[in-house]
């Protein structure tokens, strides 16, 4: 009833009845691309407002209140401002790499975003090796960040990029290992298959080891977005803003947007693999049939966004709670605590799947 699948198939039928097949496909691809870009920008704007508001609330402030009702138009005002700002050209840097880095970051972020499954019918990319695809394409961002730091011809960006690179490469290990733990439990690498496997109960309630995997995934994912207690690439006193110092105007804005959408993407992937994606919450018992029916009434895209934004809120909560780490503490946390635990957790999960 409230699902979008009906609209999509109606568009498909309307197009294929009037156009040849190649034109139908072309138009649909363009539509999907535009739709994804619009959703990408929209989610970035929502997240920027959410971040500012939640940050303010944790500090007993109100946050932006002037633009629109309750400050709801603030991100649009910010966007218009940043679009009008000048892009300052640098004199002695590698122009080609400078702009390539930006697009690598954005492409990596957008392609990972495309792997999210927003509802039952709203699936952008669904490979049979979806988890691998996500892990691989999200690593593209590291390349972009390193290139951005290198091509800016500035020692602060270079140090910031090195820090960001070390952090991202390290934390990708434990986030990847926790995803693989879930792959062992689900028995497939296809993201839609993983969600399908959670139609009875979410993975979170299928095994105790999923909890450990989820906590490790959330910590590692939080570190991968370069935020919160792990925001080492941005250090005002030593490095100023890290790898994007030399970017101005909308080029900086794209880094900013990419960072925010990465936060949502991490939350979305966490939702898909641990919290059942668009699957409603079901109690697997005879007496709960009515409850399950009520849960099924809620549209699936609402389920997905509610869970994903719940995880985003958790990430913001963590961000405004903890003091930031030193670089050695950061690497200690990854290599000596999270990595061994996630390896052990993977082993235990394999035993669980084999014997239960």
């Amino acid at each position: 009833m409230l699902e979008v699948g009906g609209i999509l198939s109606w568009i498909h039928e309307a197009l294929s009845s009037s156009c040849p097949e190649w034109l139908t496909l072309l138009i649909e691809y363009v539509l999907i691309g535009v739709g994804f870009l619009a959703l990408y920008a929209l989610i970035a704007l929502i997240l920027i407002l959410l971040e500012r508001k939640v940050c303010a609330y944790y500090q007993c402030r109100l946050g932006p209140m002037r633009a629109g009702f309750w400050g709801l138009l603030q991100p649009f005002a910010d966007m218009i401002k940043i679009l009008m700002k000048e892009i300052i050209p640098l004199l002695k840097n590698d122009k080609f790499l400078f702009f390539t880095a930006l697009f690598l970051v954005i492409i990596g972020s957008l392609c990972t975003f495309g792997a999210l499954q927003f509802s039952k019918d709203l699936i952008g990319i669904d490979f049979n090796v979806g988890v691998f695809y996500v892990l691989a394409i999200s690593s593209l961002g590291v390349l972009g960040i390193l290139l951005a730091g290198w091509s800016s011809n500035n020692k602060y960006t270079m140090i910031g990029a090195m820090r960001a690179g070390a952090q991202l490469v390290s934390y990708e290990l434990s986030s990847g290992l926790s995803l693989l733990t879930i792959v062992i439990l689900g028995g497939t690498m296809q993201l839609s298959g993983l969600i399908e496997a959670q139609s009875e109960t979410w993975f979170l309630f299928q095994s105790p080891f999923t909890w450990i995997a989820m906590i490790i995934y959330l910590i590692a994912g939080h570190a991968e977005t370069n935020r919160g207690p792990f925001d080492l690439p941005e250090a005002e006193s030593e490095l100023t803003a890290g790898y994007h110092i030399e970017y101005s105007g909308i080029t900086f804005g794209l880094f900013y947007v990419g960072e925010y959408v990465n936060m949502f993407t991490i939350a979305g992937i966490g939702t898909m693999v641990f919290l059942g994606g668009w699957q409603p919450f079901h109690i697997n018992a005879e007496w709960a049939a009515g409850f399950n029916g009520v849960m099924d009434m809620i549209p699936t895209w609402l389920w997905f966004f509610a869970k994903a934004f719940g995880l985003v809120m958790l990430s913001l909560w963590v961000r405004w709670s903890f003091p930031r780490l030193r670089i050695d503490q950061l690497l200690h946390l990854e290599w000596k605590i999270l990595m061994p635990i996630s390896l052990l957790n993977m082993l235990l999960m394999a035993l669980w799947v084999a014997y239960f």
Partner: protein
């Protein structure tokens, strides 16, 4: 190994404590003032030093005896007490206040003037909207035109020494 596990769990417990505290803050009432909207209801603390005024009574009389202690105590020379001599009905010559000029632009709100005033003739109000278009508008005459000092009957002895602390300091 035991220490590793112990550290891990005590660390997690400490982190959860921190998150509990920030969660309490999240739900607490917010302290931000929505200034132009709430200017009718906005309220400062009583000891807030907004602007210096004369403590007038309802007969348009003030307490200033033009002794000039406030002007001498002012570190910035923001105050200027201009006096004039008048002859009273019984033939005595008396020094009274002509103009009390207060330069808001150079005032540091140190409150030394109100503390040194023996008559408690000047006090602070909460008005903080001082913006004007011209610096000369910041120099204000505190005694209104036509106002005069409270007449003291000759039988009354000299007023008791004012307490050392300014009157605004011991409120709230």
């Amino acid at each position: 190994m035991i220490k590793y596990i112990k550290d891990l769990f005590s660390g997690i417990y400490a982190l959860l404590q921190g998150m509990y505290i920030t969660n309490l803050n999240f739900w607490r009432p917010k302290v931000t003032e929505q200034y132009p909207e709430d200017r009718q209801t906005a309220r400062q603390f009583e000891r807030f030093r907004g602007e210096l005024v004369f403590d007038m009574n309802d007969q348009n009389e003030h307490k200033c005896i033009a002794c000039g202690l406030c002007a001498r105590n002012c570190p910035n020379q923001s105050l200027e007490v201009i006096t004039k001599s008048i002859t009273t009905e019984d033939g005595k010559t008396k020094k009274v206040l002509d103009k009390f000029l207060y330069d808001l632009g150079s005032c540091t709100f140190c409150s030394l003037c109100t503390q040194s005033c023996a008559q408690k003739a000047i006090k602070w109000t909460n008005n903080f909207e001082h913006a004007v278009f011209n610096r000369s508008a910041l120099v204000k005459q505190l005694n209104p035109e036509g106002s005069k000092a409270i007449e003291r009957k000759p039988t009354v002895a000299a007023p008791k020494a004012a307490p050392a602390a300014g009157q605004n300091e011991n409120q709230q």
